[in-house]
Symmetry: C2
Subunit: 248 residues, 2 copies
């Protein structure tokens, strides 16, 4: 039972209790919380108080309501910083999911004019393509479609294969470093909202035309040699990107 | 007629010609370019060459193909930098459109718990809400939904009204500065891909569930006082955001 003889309003107390329970995993994402009626009885408080607490948590994005079905725990979105890069593994664990990675495809292909030009490959040259699927609790979250100059790609693919065998989660970015001897110094990124086409919808297990975040990245070395062109497709319902910057 | 007795391959020459014509506005966005057959005749070159030039321009995002209908000029997307802010007017003019702004709504409202907490307003305080529609060639491109502490909002709204009367295009960010005496020092932004709901679809004149880029910004002064909470909804087919950063 909640006691109103204190400074904190009752609805805030209830909100804090429910928030803690969600954080502790007592109520899981996309699962219902107890009904308003049950909460009134359990804490001996009025329905108005319960509604106010729930309204606030819906506003905060912690809960969501389904018409006629009840109130559910919202999925937390992976909050990815644009100013510093964190490993794929860390971002997924941060929302309480178990990260994993699958190599969906790899192969040497004719580069195509756009990719050849971005990677500064010779005309009619080859490119190593590698497609990774990033998962949380074995559900698809993101597809990374990477193109490398063959010399770079072979090292990246070797490292990716090693990690996949060991069951380690990774994005293509996580493969840079000591093991490959490749160090990107700069990345240029473009963010867009796109509708999933048939193939993308199938890979990400979402309905066709679902809103996705497409992030195109070009990684280069200190001396401006291109290392990788990557098109990442993030599920819009699982990802958000953030940036803080000083103005003026 | 194109001449193959030079170093540049024919398809690249044709591509350069077509690209220039698109840039010069000879072919307009969403309008068809001449058929492959017409291009063959006009430049006295093979169909293979024409196809290669067109394929490259499709890859580059300059053209797009509609099954059974022909090849069309793609819309250029507004390319908005995340590292430095450019005026709304400039970004829209950069893609060859005439910018304009309409004030869709303004009013003093009860703040609501989330907005009150972000803007550090007292409980049950009021907030000034202003909704702007940013247009290019009189088509909706972006909706800016801004919440200000009343004292700040009154200055912003006055400046917005003045500019609207003068027919000047602006985003809420463009209102800061000498005229309002308000200077944001820092902005924290979150980017998400979302599906347009009914109201958003109507405001932006797109089908329901179209992919939109939602950018939530919190502007603060040098001494960390909140100035504005803004939720901007950008049409995914018109906007992309870019950022370049150094790693390691």
């Amino acid at each position: 039972m909640l006691n109103s003889q204190e400074a904190t309003p009752l609805y805030q107390k209830l909100r804090d209790i429910l928030r803690k329970q969600v954080e502790d995993g007592r109520y899981l994402p996309d699962h219902a919380i107890p009904s308003e009626r049950d909460l009134c009885q359990q804490y001996q408080i009025s329905r108005i108080t319960v509604r106010q607490a729930i309204a606030e948590m819906i506003n905060e994005g912690i809960l969501y309501r389904k018409q006629g079905k009840g109130t559910f725990v919202a999925r937390r979105k992976v909050n990815q910083g644009l100013s510093r890069i964190v490993t794929f593994s860390r971002t997924v664990m941060d929302i309480g999911m178990k990260p994993s990675t699958r190599i969906l495809f790899h192969g040497l292909l004719p580069a195509g004019l756009e990719v050849a030009s971005i990677l500064k490959l010779p005309d009619a040259g080859q490119v190593l393509k590698m497609v990774l699927l990033g998962q949380g609790d074995d559900h698809p979250l993101v597809v990374y479609e990477s193109y490398f100059p063959p010399r770079v790609g072979k090292k990246m693919l070797k490292e990716a294969t090693t990690r996949e065998k060991q069951g380690l989660p990774f994005s293509s970015y996580d493969l840079y470093g000591r093991n490959t001897g490749l160090y990107p110094a700069r990345v240029s990124q473009t963010l867009e909202a796109v509708a999933a086409d048939n193939l993308q919808a199938r890979m990400l297990e979402v309905p066709k035309a679902t809103a996705l975040l497409r992030v195109t990245s070009i990684f280069t070395t200190r001396d401006h040699s291109p290392l990788e062109l990557r098109r990442a497709l993030y599920r819009g319902d699982y990802y958000k990107f953030n940036v803080v910057r000083d103005l003026a």
